[in-house]
C-alpha cells in the first residue's frame, strides 16, 4: 500500500490549514500545500497522485493550472475546489477533464476526504489489476512446476498441503531451484490468492534501508525520510509476504522481525502507533539455516518461528530425466516466442545435458537451452551447440566454502571425472594422481560415476 501523495493548491492559508489537517487524519495521505498555481506546477516532478485546486488563485486562473497539469507527464486527477456554486463553471471544468468539482461549503472537507479515498482505491485496483494481468501471463498452478521425478512429486505433495492452510513455510534449495515459483504456487492456490503476494529479497536491499523497507517509516523519522512510507509487512497484511534469502537478514533486524511475527502488528519507524500486519509468511534461503544458527548468524528463536512447514527443493542434478523434460519445455517456449520451427535435441545433446552438474539449476538450464537454440543451425540442437558458462559449476565459490583438504581434493577429482566422461585414467594423468587413489575414493563413495 503506497502513500497517496496529495497537493492542495490554496492561497487562503486558513482554509488550506483546515484541509491539510483534515486529509492528514488518514495516515496514508501525504499532503503538501501550495499557495499559488505556479508553485504547484513547479513541484509536479514530485508526481502527486491527486491535486485539490482552488479555482481562484492569485497568479493563474484555475483553468490555466488545470490545463498545465493535464499536459504534464503523469496528469494526475485534479479536483477543483471553489467557493462558487456555479453550475456552468462546474460543467465547463468537468468537460475540461477535472476529476470532480467541490464547492467550499460545510461538506467540502468530507467530499475531499471521499475523493482522496476514491483515488486511492482506484490506484490500488489499477495496481492489483496490473499485477494480476502479469500473473495471468504465467499461471501459478502446480503444473507450472515441471517435472516427473520422484523427488519432485514429494515436493508437490507438500506444496498442496501448504496451500490448504496458513502455516508458515520455509523453502530451502540451491540457487535456481525455483524457490520463488514454489512460493507463488502456494500463495496463488491458497485462500489469500485474491491479493498479490508481496516479495522482499533480503540481499537486494542495503542493510541500512531494510528496516524501513520491512516496517515502514514516518516522515522525518530519519535523515532523508521526506515522506511517510508503508512497509512490506503492512502492505502484505491479509496476503502473503515472501521473504527471500532470509538467512541474509541482519541480526539486529531479526529480533524486530520476531516481535512483529509474534504480535501481528508493526510500528513504523518514528511512530508510536502500531498497525495490524498479519500476512502469511513464506521464507526461502539457499543456505542451511540450522547451520547459520549454530554459527551464531541466525537467531534460534526466529529459526523455530519460521521453520513451519519445511520444503526442500532438490537440485536439478538429482532430478534425473526432469533435466530433459525441462530442456524440451524451455526449447518449445523459446521457439514459440521467437516464431521458430519446433526444435529438438539430438541424442548427444541430451547426454551432454544429463551429465552436467547444473550448479545454477533450472535457471542455468533455461539460459543454456536458449543460447543453444540461438547457436544451432537447423531444427536439431547438437552437443556442440550446447556450451556451459565459464563459471558453470561450483568452482567460483569453492574457496568460500571453507572445506577440508580432503573435501577439496574430492571436489576437484569429481569435477574432472565429470568433464572427462568418467575416464579415470585420463583424470589421473591430468591431475597427476594415482589411478588407485581415484578408484579407492570411488569405492569409498567419496566420488560418484554417472
Amino acid at each position: 500500500m503506497k502513500l497517496l501523495k496529495i497537493f492542495v493548491v490554496e492561497d487562503d492559508k486558513l482554509y488550506a490549514k483546515g484541509v491539510e489537517h483534515h486529509l492528514q487524519l488518514n495516515s496514508d495521505n501525504d499532503v503538501s500545500v501550495y499557495p499559488t498555481g505556479r508553485a504547484c506546477l513547479g513541484e509536479l516532478y514530485k508526481e502527486p497522485d491527486l491535486i485539490f485546486l482552488d479555482y481562484s488563485l492569485p497568479d493563474l486562473s484555475g483553468i490555466e493550472v488545470l490545463r498545465a497539469i493535464q499536459n504534464s507527464k503523469l496528469s494526475p486527477p485534479v479536483v477543483i475546489v471553489s467557493g462558487q456554486e456555479d453550475v456552468s463553471t462546474a460543467v465547463k471544468l468537468l468537460k475540461e477533464g477535472a476529476y470532480d468539482y467541490i464547492v467550499k461549503d460545510e461538506n467540502a472537507r468530507e467530499r475531499m476526504w471521499n475523493a482522496a479515498n476514491n483515488v486511492r482505491e482506484n490506484a490500488k485496483l489499477r495496481t492489483e489489476l496490473e499485477q494480476l494481468r502479469q500473473e495471468l501471463n504465467y499461471k501459478y498452478d502446480f503444473s507450472n512446476i515441471k517435472g516427473r521425478s520422484e523427488v519432485l512429486q514429494k515436493v508437490f505433495k507438500l506444496v498442496e498441503k501448504a496451500a490448504r492452510t496458513n502455516i508458515t513455510v520455509s523453502i530451502t534449495g540451491e540457487t535456481g531451484t525455483g524457490k520463488e515459483l514454489v512460493a507463488k504456487a502456494i500463495h496463488y492456490n491458497s485462500g489469500k490468492s485474491a491479493r498479490p503476494m508481496v516479495t522482499v529479497n533480503m540481499t537486494a536491499i542495503p542493510a541500512e534501508l531494510m528496516e524501513s523497507e520491512l516496517f515502514g517509516h514516518e516522515k522525518g523519522a530519519f535523515t532523508g525520510a521526506q515522506a511517510r512510507r508503508v512497509g512490506k509487512f503492512e502492505e502484505a497484511h491479509e496476503s502473503t509476504l515472501f521473504l527471500d534469502e532470509i538467512a541474509d537478514l541482519d541480526l539486529s533486524l531479526q529480533a524486530k522481525l520476531l516481535r512483529v511475527l509474534q504480535e501481528k502488528e508493526v510500528t513504523r519507524l518514528g511512530s508510536n502507533r502500531p498497525v495490524p500486519a498479519a500476512p502469511r509468511i513464506i521464507v526461502a534461503t539457499h543456505k542451511n539455516l540450522a547451520e547459520e544458527v549454530k554459527q551464531g548468524r541466525f537467531r534460534e528463536d526466529l529459526y523455530y518461528r519460521l521453520l513451519g512447514l519445511p520444503i526442500e527443493l532438490p537440485p536439478l542434478r538429482e532430478r534425473g530425466d526432469d533435466i530433459l523434460l525441462l530442456a524440451q519445455y524451455f526449447l518449445d517456449a523459446f521457439a514459440e516466442e521467437n516464431q521458430l520451427q519446433g526444435l529438438k535435441l539430438s541424442q548427444e545433446a541430451r547426454e551432454k545435458l544429463r551429465h552436467y552438474r547444473w550448479p545454477g539449476n533450472v535457471r542455468e538450464l533455461r539460459a543454456v537451452i536458449e543460447l543453444s537454440a540461438v547457436l544451432c543451425s537447423g531444427e536439431q540442437i547438437e552437443a556442440s551447440d550446447i556450451s556451459f558458462p565459464a563459471s558453470g559449476d561450483d568452482w567460483g565459490d569453492l574457496w568460500a566454502q571453507n572445506l577440508t583438504l580432503r573435501d577439496y581434493t574430492r571436489k576437484i577429482i569429481q569435477h574432472y571425472l565429470d568433464r572427462y566422461n568418467q575416464n579415470v585414467v585420463r583424470v589421473a594423468e591430468k591431475l597427476d594422481v594415482g589411478k588407485s587413489t581415484i578408484y579407492r575414493m570411488i569405492k569409498n563413495k567419496e566420488l560418484t560415476l554417472k
Binding site: 492561497d11 487562503d12 492559508k13 486558513l14 482554509y15 490549514k17 483546515g18 489537517h21 483534515h22 487524519l25 481562484s56 467557493g83 462558487q84 467550499k104 461549503d105 460545510e106 467540502a108 472537507r109
Partner: protein
C-alpha cells in the same frame, strides 16, 4: 462558552481534540482576516466591486468555519453584488455589519 459571537464547534470537530491545531487556526485567522477585511473595505471605497466580490468570496469559508452566523448571509450577499457589479446603497451597511462582527470576533478570540 456563552455569549461569544463565534462558534468553534465546526473547528473543534475538525480538530478531533487537537487543541494545538485549534490554537493554530485561531492564530492564523487573527493574523490574516484583519487584512482581508481592510482590503474589502478599500475595494468598496474605491468602487472596485469585482475585487470586493472576490475578497468576500475568500473570507466566506473562514466565516463559516468560525461559526460567525451573524454575517454568513451578509458575506454571500456582498460576494454576489460584487460579482454582478451591483452598486447598491446597502453595500455600505453590509460592510459595516461584517466589520462590526469581525472586530468583535477578533477581540473575543484574542481573549479566549
Amino acid at each position: 462558552m456563552a455569549d461569544t459571537i463565534y462558534d468553534l464547534s465546526q473547528l473543534e470537530e475538525l480538530a478531533g481534540g487537537d487543541e494545538d491545531f485549534i490554537n493554530s487556526m485561531v492564530s492564523t485567522f487573527l493574523e490574516h482576516t484583519p487584512n482581508q477585511l481592510e482590503e474589502l473595505k478599500k475595494a468598496r471605497q474605491d468602487g472596485d466591486l469585482p475585487t470586493m466580490g472576490k475578497i468576500a468570496h475568500k473570507i466566506k469559508p473562514n466565516i463559516d468555519m468560525f461559526g460567525l452566523t451573524d454575517i454568513t448571509d451578509t458575506i454571500r450577499e456582498l460576494e454576489q453584488m460584487g460579482k454582478n457589479e451591483e452598486d447598491k446603497p446597502e453595500i455600505k451597511d453590509k460592510i459595516q455589519q461584517v466589520d462590526k462582527v469581525l472586530q468583535e470576533a477578533f477581540d473575543q478570540l484574542k481573549a479566549r
